[in-house]
Amino acid sequence: MGTDAGLRGTTTRDGFRVLWVGIKREPRVFTIATLGAVLFGVLTVADAWVLGWSTEHVLIPAFETGEVRTSLLVWVVALFMGVAILRAVGIVARRLGGGIMYYRMQSHTRRGVTRQYLTLPMEWHQRHPTGQLLSNASSDIEAAWSPIMPLPMALGTVVMMVIAVVQMFVADVVMALVGLLVFPAVVGVNLLYQHYSSPLMTRAQGLRAEVSEIAHESFDGAMVVKTLGREVEETDRFRAKAHELRDVNIRAGRIRAVFDPALASLPNLGVLVVLAVGVSRVASGATEPGDVVTVAYLLTIVSFPIRAIGWLLGEFPRSVVGYRRAKAVLDATGSMEFGDDRLPPSTTGALLEVDDLHYSYDPDAPLLRGVDFDVQPGRTVALVGATASGKSTLTSLMTRLVDPDSGVIRVDGHDVKGLRKGELPRAVALVPQTAFMFDDTVRGNVTLGADVLDADVWAALRTAQADGFVAALPEGLDTRLGERGTSLSGGQRQRLSLARALVRRPRLLILDDATSAVDPEVEARILASLRDDRDGGAAASLVVVAYRKATISLADEVVHLDAGRVVGRGTHADLLDSSPAYAQLVNAYETDADAPGGRA
């Protein structure tokens, strides 16, 4: 209990700290919204004052004397309408200001978080689950700034309370003291309510995220679910979480059911007490009937907005957690360091030197253990190795997605770590095993914003054997691919991904098993085109991760990888002769087919 209270204290303090960050970032909007809220608060009280004034100076005298001056009636209308108009202005400033500040703060943080995503090194990405990073940039930011909406209202309420209390004291000290008991009671009950409900709210928030994760994963794997007929099990998994969420919501609802009427009744009971006390004060001549009305009215109108303070505090637990998560991304360091070197302008193939590379993701299972090889300008090297031998890791090191634990990679003699930002991607292009598509047009996906003529785009598509299906799309290059290009087949995505690399005319092209989803016929045509291309113009250097002999035989040299080490280098023919392990790996199809059929 003690630690719990301590924790709560910290949450409140941290909650205010988060708000302070927002206030410092958007001081103007905050000031406007708060002034609006204060205006609203003052005028809500003024409303009671106008009613009291009207009672005192117009209503009672009129009934007593049986006459009224028209000018007084005009005053009544003017006062009420003036107050109403100013209050409307206050509402607009408060709510619109609060809203704008809330959206802007979300935008600021989102820009910051996504900038981090783009600058932080790949290792950082690998350490953090995708789902977490996505929610850091969406729901966590939303939660972090959620107290901003009720903030101006709460501040305005404080001002309103002060004014109301002063006014009540001016009207009648005794009644004011009675009324004053109501405010702390409302605040106290509110805090009690927050105490019971906020853990449930936080829990519900977490459960909502879990329900969403299950749905996301399950829909992503819809095909597996369908093919294995696991709809019932998946629904059970989802239902269990949905029911847990339901039960928490119902529990939170029951607590609310207790506190809602309690909070509504407190001021009502206060009014009754004020009436009783007021009447006795009027009877003894200590106060005027108008004052009784004023105090009673003040109590009713101020009590409801007091709850805004509760709403504000109620958002704090969610806000603090959300802010911490987003802040963890914002504070993450270890961006990839870049140097100042430039690669000399050249249109010929690049020279790649890989020198004693070591790399491990998990120290117990090193992925690369001293890899050495080089690719001479304009030459083609095939990386060959069994599944999980470290080939893909090597390609991500060569494109500097990650840096090695030790060892050096040089392009044209420059250590890639010393190159300035953007220099390596200009020279080196990687076509990964799994193609990623942006939610953009075909053109956008190929050019990635580079200023490229359509003719060049088509040429790249032709080389990648993608021109046929792109031409058949309803709007050709302008066809939008939708989220992650799910409207395309795997092979089509791979070919677009290949065109994306080709259109940039890289000096070193790395293909990481980039044609695995393409038919051999189509692959053969792609490889032939690559070759033609190389013969026609400047020959790019080429590194291919491949299994197919057609691909391998195209290489000037083969690097045979096994368990993170280079175990053989040479031409395909040399390796076939000298290395039984290599022969077994690449001849698998033949030896197998030879056995039963035996062909020429």
């Binding site: 790949m122 996505l134 294995l228 009427p261 599944t387 390596l424 795997g490 051999p520 059929g597």
Partner: protein, 606 residues
């Protein structure tokens, strides 16, 4: 192929019922149908709500009574009367508070129960939708229909729906009371609020349009912020950080603008209520004073009226607010119901369906034709039989219709013409559980759940022990790979299995299928990312394991075709050749001979 062509419409091209054609009242009726819990005890809850709302009029009445009979009583203030009235009022407050408690608790219970049911039904229905429909929808949009959309409805039902009804009730009660006090003043109040009531519809339309834009921008924003995460590697290798950031910044700005725009309408409509209230108050005092001269008005009555006006203003403001939220909630409800209203055309015959006997399955395609909606035919007049226990390879160029063949065979889609029969029974008449038990497809991109390898493999047979999984791995010849993993079967595969390489993911998927022990196994390029030696090893293992089953393999590596009992060659949606490899390869000039020549040229010794 369905492709999004409208750059502004995030969900265009969808085959999912958006529910947009369902009217507001129809939505509520339909919602009640799918969540019968919502109806339970609704009447009692409504009675409690009315009782609870009476609590709001206790104090104004007490004030009026105090002023007229206690304070301004003939012969001076009467304290005893005021005290008694206070006690009575306090009792009334206690009773109405109790009613309020019961109402809220019941409301939460029924709404949450009803919505949990709706959520689960919608979730299940998504899985019952045809693959084609699932693929036309953004994953995020689909997820939000069973998450945030349902939450939106829940908020509305709990804080809006009934409170709206009660607010209207309160407005009516306040009006009746006002008329009882003075019909003239009641008229004044209504006239003051007339402009607000008239403008509500206009605001509704504006808000509805504004929130449609908001929702779209939320979708665009979520898509944009996923790119630097999901596409982290591509963004880096191509050095397009600046462009990606620009796209995100645009999405963020558009999102912010959309929300600000919507908020402007919300705020304006809300502030109008305050103006009407000011007008009403002024009118009550002025007209009240003037009426006083005709003699049927007392100061107490006028003041009580002033309180009654607050009583009237409260529900009106509340009602306006709820109507605003209702736009959103009804739209959300429609989207959830839209899922359930989208026909699941792969209807499971259920208990009436036939159950396939265990043992090798005999397959027959009876004059099967298939085309995607509004698309050209993909398969035409496919008429063939695959005998029980045979191993068949399907080959053909990209786009020839091979994968469609696999999807029809495993009933991921139903044919447009003709029928697919397993053991002589139309697949549409086979009980779904029986079908999935006997027929298993291993697709090229084997999806893995964010769990261990063991859990993913067990997806094929839920009660499999770890020993059985290990035994399967040995049978399939992938035990060496498994043993080399630092944590073996307990290795976490990451989201969508991304911690493993594409080849390793395929191994897990194969293991999963093998454990499922099907009678008909369909492999759709299931080992395309595995190295040749391992692939051949698996191929030989499968050959052995498939002896008592039927297997259909779609392969672009013709080595698979060479070892199959029979090869079926598909070209431009038709079967053009059939027979064993040795026979087909000799048919000079045939499609298969061409494919084979190309294969050989790629794999022969260089």
């Amino acid at each position: 192929m369905t492709v999004t062509t409208d750059p502004t419409a995030a969900t265009s091209g969808t085959r999912m019922d958006s529910g947009e054609t369902i009217g507001a009242m129809a939505t509520i009726r339909l919602g009640m149908k799918y969540s019968p819990e919502l109806r339970e005890g609704l009447r009692a809850t409504l009675v409690l709500a009315v009782l609870a709302s009476c609590g709001q009029i206790v104090v104004p009445i007490a004030v009026q009574q105090t002023l007229d009979r206690g304070l301004n009583a003939p012969g001076g203030p009467r304290l005893d009367y005021v005290l008694w009235m206070g006690v009575l009022a306090a009792l009334a407050i206690a009773v109405t508070s109790w009613a309020s408690y019961l109402m809220t608790a019941r409301l939460f219970t029924t709404s949450e129960r009803g919505l949990a049911t709706l959520r689960t039904k919608a979730f299940r229905h998504v899985h019952d939708l045809p693959l084609l429909t699932q693929n036309t929808e953004r994953r995020g949009a689909l997820v939000s229909r069973v998450t945030s959309d349902v939450d939106q409805v829940s908020q509305f039902l709990v804080f809006g729906g009934l409170i709206f009804v009660v607010s209207i009730g309160q407005m009516l009660v306040a009006t009746v009371l006002m008329v009882v006090y003075s019909w003239q003043l009641a008229l004044v109040v209504w006239l003051a609020f007339a402009p607000l009531f008239v403008s509500i519809r206009w605001f509704q339309r504006k808000l509805s349009a504004a929130y449609t834009v908001v929702r779209r921008q939320v979708g665009v924003l979520l898509g944009a912020i996923s790119e630097p995460v999901v596409g982290a590697a591509v963004v880096r290798t191509y050095g397009v950080e600046a462009r990606t950031q620009e796209r995100i910044d645009t999405a963020i700005q558009d999102w912010q603008d959309a929300y600000t725009h919507a908020q402007t309408y919300t705020v304006t409509s809300f502030s109008l209520g305050g103006l009407s209230a000011g007008l009403a108050n002024a009118g009550v005092i002025v007209i009240g004073v003037l009426l006083g001269f005709t003699g049927d008005m007392t100061p107490g009555k006028v003041l009580a009226f002033a309180f009654l006006v607050t009583l009237f203003v409260g529900p009106v403001q509340m009602g306006t607010q709820i109507l605003t939220d209702a736009q959103n909630a009804i739209a959300s409800w429609r989207r959830v119901l839209g899922i359930l209203e989208t026909p699941a055309d792969l209807v499971d015959p259920g208990p009436d369906g036939e159950v396939l006997p265990r043992g090798p399955i005999d397959v027959r395609f009876a004059d099967v034709g298939f085309s995607y909606p509004d698309g050209p035919p993909v398969l035409r007049e496919i008429d063939l039989t695959i005998g029980a226990g045979t191993r068949v390879a399907i080959v053909g160029e990209t786009g020839s219709g091979k994968s469609t063949f696999a999807k029809l065979l495993t009933r991921l889609m139903d044919p447009v013409d003709g029928a697919v029969l397993l053991d002589g029974v139309d697949v549409r008449r086979i009980d779904a559980r029986s079908l999935r038990r006997s027929v298993v497809l291993v697709p090229q991109e084997g999806f893995l759940f964010d769990d261990t390898i063991a859990a993913n493999v067990r997806y094929g047979r839920l009660d499999a022990s770890e020993d059985e999984i290990r035994a399967s791995a040995v049978e399939l010849g992938v035990d060496d790979w498994l043993a080399a993993l630092p944590k073996g079967l307990h290795t976490q595969v990451g989201q969508r299995g991304e911690s493993l390489s594409a080849g390793e993911r395929q191994l897990v998927a194969l293991l999963r299928a093998h454990l499922a022990d099907p009678d008909l196994l369909v492999l759709d390029e299931a080992t395309s990312a595995v190295d040749p030696a391992l692939e051949m090893q698996i191929g030989r293992a499968l050959e052995r394991l498939m002896q008592s089953r039927t297997s259909v393999t779609i392969a672009h590596r013709l080595s698979t075709a060479e070892s199959a009992d029979e090869v079926i060659v598909v070209d431009k949606g038709r079967v053009v050749q059939r027979g064993p490899h040795s026979e087909l390869v000799t048919q000079a000039g045939s499609v298969y001979a061409g494919l084979h020549a190309s294969w050989v040229s790629q794999h022969s010794r260089a």
